[in-house]
Amino acid sequence: MKILLNNREEEFAEETMSVTRMIELKKFSFRMRVIKINGTLIPREKYDTAIIRDRDNVQMLYLMSGG
């Protein structure tokens, strides 16, 4: 499937995948993040069950301490 990840097109072999799986596949490090799929916020506790599908628009931002 192809998805938009932070406005960049990315291709995955999977037909669908959980948010957790995408994080594994992309080898994203453990950091505090917020993820939206097609504009809908995915709470952390739903990363295992929220499914990303072909053509989805996935937005991710990292939250770093300091202010």
Binding site: M32, R33, G39, L41, P43, L61, Y62, L63, G66, G67
Partner: protein
Amino acid sequence: MILIMRFPEIESHLKKFRAGIAGAGGLGSNCAVALARSGIGTLVIADFDVVEPANLNRQYYFADQTGLLKTDALKETISRINPGVSIITCNLKLDESNITEVFAGCDVIVEAFDKKEMKVMLIETVLSEIPGVPLVVGSGLAGYGSNETIRSRKIDDTLYVCGDEATTADDDLPPMAPRVGIVANMQANTVIEILMQRK
């Protein structure tokens, strides 16, 4: 889109709006001052902390305000800069149970916390409890130098992020006035851009 407008027109437009400031530390105090100078109508400032000497390397407070509640100190400073700004202070620790009430009626909210867990809590609460209100997040501002890594991104109409999204403040990479001030002012700049597009 930037419309050509004279400052008095911008100021009188911004006067119609209310901005919420979640946290009055380095990001919140500097952002609030920039919005006050620009003519924002009302600021809702929420924080529970007092001014400490260690804050003065980056936060918009003065040595003689040490020991005062940050909300009270910032209200006093802003009233000296622009007495036309209405300031509502909330001396409390923001959490899931009070954010909606504190920021009710705000046209835009600025996330200005220090800890990443608090940032996520605020984002999740605002997006689920008060959807549609734009939230401007600060993330990644520690250390000095590296101007080019600091950026501003629009996720969508209700979520914006300013900062490098990479550096974490700690003892070996302290938050300092220049980079904190850059991000805080980028947040203020984003707030103004959002509000200038409103009728």
